[in-house]
Symmetry: C4
Subunit: 224 residues, 4 copies
Amino acid sequence: MRWIGTLLSTMVRETGVAEIDDLSLKAELLCATSRWCYTRGWVPATSGNFSVRQGARILITASGLDKGVLTPAGLLGLDLEGNVLAGVGKPSAETGLHLVIYKARPKAGAILHVHTVWNTLLSGICEEAGGVELSGFELLKGLSGVSTHEYVERVPVLRNTQDYGELSAKLEESLHENLGAHGVLLSRHGLYTWGESVGEARRHLEALEFLFEVQGRRALGGKA
Amino acid sequence: MRWIGTLLSTMVRETGVAEIDDLSLKAELLCATSRWCYTRGWVPATSGNFSVRQGARILITASGLDKGVLTPAGLLGLDLEGNVLAGVGKPSAETGLHLVIYKARPKAGAILHVHTVWNTLLSGICEEAGGVELSGFELLKGLSGVSTHEYVERVPVLRNTQDYGELSAKLEESLHENLGAHGVLLSRHGLYTWGESVGEARRHLEALEFLFEVQGRRALGGKA
Amino acid sequence: MRWIGTLLSTMVRETGVAEIDDLSLKAELLCATSRWCYTRGWVPATSGNFSVRQGARILITASGLDKGVLTPAGLLGLDLEGNVLAGVGKPSAETGLHLVIYKARPKAGAILHVHTVWNTLLSGICEEAGGVELSGFELLKGLSGVSTHEYVERVPVLRNTQDYGELSAKLEESLHENLGAHGVLLSRHGLYTWGESVGEARRHLEALEFLFEVQGRRALGGKA
Amino acid sequence: MRWIGTLLSTMVRETGVAEIDDLSLKAELLCATSRWCYTRGWVPATSGNFSVRQGARILITASGLDKGVLTPAGLLGLDLEGNVLAGVGKPSAETGLHLVIYKARPKAGAILHVHTVWNTLLSGICEEAGGVELSGFELLKGLSGVSTHEYVERVPVLRNTQDYGELSAKLEESLHENLGAHGVLLSRHGLYTWGESVGEARRHLEALEFLFEVQGRRALGGKA
């Protein structure tokens, strides 16, 4: 699994450097993250999509690709209105949701969207409530700006729809109503999370999915 | 794990090419998929079987092999009546079921049969109902021809039997009654799924097994 | 993970050869199986032990070794009375149980003993009943001599004790009372299973552990 | 995954040598253990921390690093009052807890702190009771000094707080009240465990986490 070597070495590099301006490096990091998500079963059956932003340009996964073998050749270059500037293929159908997030979260530099067993289960259970509340867990400190377990992270759950216009509008509204949220769940669909860098977005992903599993197991075991 | 490299490179190649006519490449892809299934615990104890079709010929796993180390040398060449044309060993005892599927689904080019913890559990729970209903999940879109989560995929569950003649007849009937089905479960036994290519069959496998796990966890947790 | 390569190549060799007389090859296979069990979490914290028999000699793991890095240097050569003939270290404390099994099952050529989450859970739940009954599952056919899912595999559960003399006597009794059994569970301790070869013992291990997980999940979910 | 090779070879070396005085080798072992924990999902989102002690000096992970790519460059050298003697970065915020453990357990040579799904779940369930009781399991013998399953390992559960002074005082008290304890849980936070060597600490970690999973599954399934 040569790509893990690539992932590690690029992440080591990232660790040592405050800011990375090299878009091709960001693309490599994004693809390594995609393949890592695949090995965890988080983007099965060509599901999920990933993007990075630099200035007025984003790179996003082309539609329908196997996320377990993603390379930068599977990314498209877009402007912030979603016009394709470079690359082969059709942008992911959910590109509009990425654009909404980049607009509502000006500091976001990377967005990860995954379908996991636990986020699928928990978002279904919590759809009526409109959100998942995560509280009292030390791992909340894995979310940027959170410095104590005595914190309530409310991850909004939006009803799923294939009308992406409607979904974009709801997502925008939700992002404005939940300014502290580090992610948004689409019911029985998956999680959107983001960060200033690919590394920060991945940290948010790891923290949220860990907590979804804990909360989901509690819910199924009648403990929540 | 050199085979992963092989898997990846062949899949990358597959991604870039609309149709693959090279039977030996299909055989490599099929074996790579078998070994990948093994690492997930989906074909334990030499269980499971796999095939590809090209024209009037199929390649299918020989009986009793460890699916974690399958190579093309473990495949047999058969005609569509099940006569062995090439290869060493005895065809899988379930070869007849593959032939029924290829007949009932003329576009099918590959068939995957796996025994997983979740398909074993869920097929047992749903045997009386005669099928598993999967609905409301975004991941249903991983099944060819499905473009919305508002879709009901009904995976028939057939009572298991060692009388392969009877089972073949029931499978044929079920495939005709459930023309939209992307897979069939044998109760407490396993899943049969298929696709036009090995890649599509694997996508169906990933999508269905993900949803079986979600549905199975809900059922055991009293949520379904 | 170079050892996987070793495992695969030796297993491929085993597949092609009816009988393997080379004791050093058997030792390599046994160690590869040990390391494979470790990666699955089946022999944590130096637990578990493994042996092979050839004629009047057995090779068995020395006590206290990390099973994730086992090599033939970690095996001891013993006669069937348990006298150490070769090797460095102390034989596993459970050596006597291996000797009982080799005596009661004259065809057994390899014994695997693992501690898994599911065998620990299920043996605890079924201790009062004195055994785990596995029935109706296709994967039972992974057990030698079983040709139908309509079979009841009764895996005896013995109460755990640190008195190995008592445990040996109980095990001997249980093996004679359950002549068809492919394994024996020690309550909240682990599974002993065996086979004519390392490959067959591993097949029994995979089949039984798969079924313990299915049965254990059903029991915890109130379905059994 | 080259590091696994490193891990194995260093562990093999450790196995063969009674005492290892080479601090740089200990640092390599500690980092290998960190990366191994990461692959198991036990230190997600830069959580967790690790240390080794030699004489009056300890090496401990710097704050905020990805534990999946830890190398000795990510460790800081400290004296036993917590003063930084060498290395780049800020010591982990929980350094004080390591110092308390080293003081209360003079033989401890390594400390591992991980956040797992099962220790998070179980510590939350048992917070009111003030501890997790593990009893009747053979794997208790993976804990140093324990020679029978008929043993009660009581792992104290401390209420979590961000006041590290208070937490240090409580931890110190708990270590003195529970002299036989091989680990301490912080509620919905994680496990601290230790050992005379990195290898022993890892053995304790494997044994305790295995038993937490067993106990956690029983608790959620209404069996405990």
